[in-house]
C-alpha cells in the first residue's frame, strides 16, 4: 500500500470535510426546494471514498455505485460545481440536468454512475471489468452497493460470473446498518454480509470503514489481487450514515444515542486527531481548511444557481445515438 504520510492525512481531512460540507449544502438547498426529487447523502461514510481513492490508480481504475453518489465523482476528479449543477437540474450539470441526484456520470473521469435500482449496478460493474479484461486493459473496477443490495439476486449472479470469468473487480458493500429503515439484522439470518463471498470462494472480509487507513489497506490488497489476475474480492465496509436514507426519512428505526456513538468515531475527527497528535498540526490549520472548504462549497452553489436550465431538445437528443430518431408525438 502507498504510505499514509502527513500529506495524505492532510488531503484526507480536507477532502472529507469538503464532501461533508458539500452534502450539508445539498441538504440545505433541498429544504429550500432548489434541489428536488430524492436526495441520499453520504455523511458519515467518507472514509470509504478516501481510502478507496488512496488505493486506486486514478489514471485508469474505475468506479460505479448506487444513488448515494454525489461525492465519489468529485473524488475521481469531476468538477464539484458540475455535480452541484446536476442536482439543480441545470444544463451545466454532469448529465445536462437529465440525471439529477441519483445519476451522476463521468466518462472522462471513469465514474460509471449513479444507479437508481438497488443492486442493478452490481452486474454492470462486473461487466465494465469484463470489457477491460477483454481489451487487455490493466484496470480494476470498484463496484459499490449498499447492504440492502446484498439481498438482491443480481449480487449472486454477478459474484458467480465474476469468479467464473476471473474478472478484475472489487465488490464493496457499504454496510451502513440500514436498508432505508430496515436494519441488516432484519434482512437475513446472519449479519456478516462479507460471508456471502464464501460460497463463491471469493476472497472476502470485514473492514472498519470509519477509518480511511483501514479502508485503504483492504482496498489496496483487493485491487492488487485484481490487477495481477487474481480476480474479484468482496469487502464488507462497516460504516454508518448520520442522516436519513433520504431527506424524507424520519429515522424512527434508530435512536439519537446510536448516531452519537458513531459520531465519536467519525472519520474526519479520527484523521484530525491523528494530525494533531502525530504531526503537531494546530487548530489554526483546521480553521484555514474550514475556510477554504466553505469557499469551495459556496463556489459550487453560486455556479449551480447561475447556470441556465437545459434546452428542451436535450430531452430528445440524449436518448439515442441515432440523430433523427422518430419519437412518437405526446399528443395526437
Amino acid at each position: 500500500m502507498k504510505k499514509v504520510t502527513k500529506d495524505v492525512l492532510l488531503n484526507w481531512y480536507e477532502e472529507m470535510l469538503f464532501w461533508r460540507k458539500f452534502e450539508d449544502k445539498l441538504a440545505q438547498v433541498y429544504i429550500q426546494q432548489k434541489v428536488r426529487g430524492f436526495l441520499h447523502l453520504y455523511n458519515g461514510q467518507e472514509a470509504i471514498l478516501a481510502g478507496a481513492l488512496h488505493a486506486m490508480d486514478l489514471t485508469k481504475d474505475k468506479m460505479i455505485t448506487a444513488y448515494r453518489n454525489h461525492v465519489q465523482p468529485i473524488g475521481m476528479g469531476v468538477d464539484p460545481k458540475r455535480v452541484m449543477a446536476e442536482l439543480y437540474g441545470k444544463a451545466t450539470g454532469t448529465s445536462q440536468g437529465l440525471g439529477g441526484s441519483m445519476h451522476i456520470f463521468s466518462k472522462e473521469h471513469r465514474f460509471y454512475g449513479g444507479h437508481g435500482i438497488v443492486g442493478g449496478q452490481i452486474p454492470l460493474g462486473a461487466g465494465i471489468a469484463f470489457g477491460d479484461k477483454f481489451h487487455g486493459v490493466n484496470a480494476v473496477t470498484l463496484t459499490f452497493f449498499g447492504d440492502g443490495a446484498a439481498r438482491q439476486g443480481s449480487l449472486h449472479e454477478a459474484f458467480n460470473l465474476a469468479m467464473l470469468w476471473n474478472l478484475p473487480v472489487v465488490f464493496c458493500v457499504e454496510n451502513n446498518g440500514y436498508a432505508m429503515g430496515t436494519s441488516v439484522a432484519r434482512t437475513a439470518n446472519h449479519t456478516d454480509i462479507w460471508k456471502l463471498g464464501l460460497g463463491y470462494e471469493m476472497p472476502c472480509g470485514p473492514v472498519d470503514a470509519m477509518d480511511p487507513e483501514k479502508v485503504a489497506e483492504a482496498m489496496s490488497e483487493a485491487i492488487e489481487r485484481a490487477r495481477s489476475g487474481g480476480g474479484p474480492t468482496f469487502l464488507e465496509l462497516k460504516t454508518y450514515r448520520y442522516r436519513g436514507h433520504s431527506m424524507s426519512d424520519a429515522q424512527k428505526y434508530r435512536t439519537k444515542d446510536e448516531v452519537a456513538e458513531y459520531q465519536k468515531i467519525d472519520p474526519i475527527t479520527q484523521v484530525k486527531d491523528r494530525l494533531m497528535s502525530d504531526h503537531n498540526m494546530s487548530e489554526d490549520h483546521f480553521k484555514d481548511v474550514a475556510k477554504r472548504v466553505k469557499e469551495r462549497v459556496a463556489e459550487c452553489e453560486k455556479f449551480a444557481e447561475e447556470s441556465p436550465f437545459p434546452e428542451q431538445s436535450v430531452m430528445y437528443d440524449a436518448v439515442y445515438e441515432q440523430e433523427d430518431y422518430p419519437f412518437l408525438p405526446a399528443k395526437s
Binding site: G97, K107, G114, G120, G131, H135, A318, V319, S332
Partner: protein, 326 residues
C-alpha cells in the same frame, strides 16, 4: 442468390460482423460448445474461440448486466436469450440500464448491444413459453425492436442491429429457424425502421410482422379466389415503426387489418390503430380491425391452442368484416 435457413442467416450475420469488428462477442446459454440451443451459432466457437463465443450459466440477469457493463468499456455484445420468455428475469437490466444509460449520463455513454432470441409461441409449449413481449420492449424509449419474418430480412437486419450504436431487441421464432429463403451471395445490410410492401393490392391493407405474417399470406391467397385484393405490409421493425408505409397503403385501400401475435391489451396493433384514426380518419371506409391472441395465458391442449392463436381464417374473417362482405 443462395438459399439458406433462417438459423444460417442469423449465424452468417453474426459471423460476418464478428470478422469485421473485434469488439463484438456472442454470449448466452448454450451458444458455444452446444452450437446454440437452435443451432444459430453453429461453428462460431470453432471460428472465434472461447473469448468471443461465451457460454454462460443460467443467469439471464447477471450476463445481461455484464454485457451491458462491457459496452461502457468498448464492447459491442450480442446476447442470446434461449427465448425472450427467459428475458424477464433479466429485463431490469435491459429497461433500467441498457435503455437508459445514454440518457441518464447526458449522452456520455452509448450502449451498442443486441439482445436476440425467439419470441412468441412455438407449438404446445403452454403458458410461460409462448409469450410475445415485442410491445413491452417497444414501449421503452432507448430501445429499438426488430422482428424479422424471413431469412433475407433476418440477415440484413441483424447486421444493421449489430452495427447500430443503440441497444436493439431482435426477435426471432423457434418455428422459423428451419425456414428457407434466398439471400444475396455478397454482403448487404437492411435499414432499421423501414417496412416492406410484400404484396400489392387494392381492397384492404394487412399489417403484420414476425412469423405470424405467414397467416396473412395464406389469407390473401384465399381472398384472391373471391376477388378480394390484399396489400400486405411487413413491418420488420416495431420500434421505430414505419408509419409512412402504413399511411400510404391505407390512403390507397381505405381499410386496415392488423395481425399481431400478442395479447390484445395495449400492443403494437393498438398503437397503429390509434395512429391511423388520428392521421387518416377521413380515408377510412371501415373501423380498423385487429387480430391478436386470446386475452389469456397460452393453453397447452391442441384444440385450445388453435382457438387461442390467430390463423389465416381469422384474417379472412377480418378482411371480410372491414369490407362489409359475408
Amino acid at each position: 442468390m443462395k438459399t439458406i435457413q433462417f438459423r444460417e442467416a442469423i449465424c452468417e450475420a453474426m459471423s460476418e460482423e464478428m470478422r469485421r469488428d473485434e469488439s463484438i462477442y456472442l454470449m448466452g446459454e448454450e451458444v458455444a460448445e452446444y452450437n446454440g440451443a437452435y443451432k444459430a451459432s453453429k461453428g462460431m466457437l470453432d471460428e472465434f474461440g472461447a473469448k468471443r463465443v461465451i457460454d454462460t450459466p443460467i443467469a439471464e440477469l447477471g450476463f445481461a448486466g455484464i454485457a451491458i457493463g462491457s459496452t461502457m468499456t468498448g464492447n459491442r455484445p450480442i446476447v442470446e436469450y434461449m427465448t425472450f420468455n427467459f428475458s424477464l428475469v433479466g429485463i431490469d437490466q435491459i429497461i433500467n440500464n441498457a435503455a437508459k444509460i445514454r440518457q441518464m449520463s447526458g449522452g456520455q455513454f452509448k450502449c451498442p448491444i443486441v439482445f436476440r432470441g425467439p419470441t412468441a409461441s412455438a407449438g404446445q409449449l403452454a403458458a410461460t413459453h409462448s409469450q410475445a413481449f415485442e410491445n413491452w420492449f417497444a414501449n421503452t424509449p432507448g430501445l429499438k425492436v426488430i422482428v424479422p419474418s424471413n431469412p433475407y430480412d433476418a440477415k440484413g437486419l441483424l447486421k444493421a442491429a449489430i452495427r447500430d450504436d443503440d441497444p436493439v431487441i431482435f426477435m426471432e421464432s423457434e418455428q422459423m429457424y428451419g425456414d428457407k429463403g434466398e439471400v444475396p451471395e455478397g454482403e448487404y445490410v437492411l435499414p432499421i425502421g423501414v417496412a416492406e410492401l410484400k404484396r400489392e393490392g387494392n381492397d384492404v391493407t394487412i399489417v403484420s410482422f414476425g412469423k405470424i405474417i405467414k397467416e396473412a399470406y395464406k389469407a390473401a391467397d384465399e381472398l384472391e379466389k373471391e376477388g378480394i385484393s390484399c396489400e400486405i405490409i411487413d413491418l420488420r421493425t416495431v420500434r421505430p415503426y414505419d408509419k409512412e408505409a402504413i399511411l400510404k397503403s391505407v390512403k390507397k385501400t381505405n381499410r386496415l387489418v392488423i395481425l399481431e401475435e400478442a395479447w390484445p391489451f395495449g400492443n403494437v396493433s393498438t398503437e397503429i390503430s390509434h395512429m391511423i384514426q388520428a392521421e387518416a380518419f377521413d380515408y377510412l371506409d371501415a373501423p380498423v380491425y385487429k387480430i391478436n391472441t386470446q386475452d389469456t395465458p397460452a393453453p397447452y391442449s391442441p384444440g385450445l391452442l388453435a382457438e387461442w392463436l390467430p390463423d389465416y381464417t381469422d384474417v379472412v374473417e377480418g378482411v371480410k368484416k372491414v369490407m362489409y362482405r359475408k
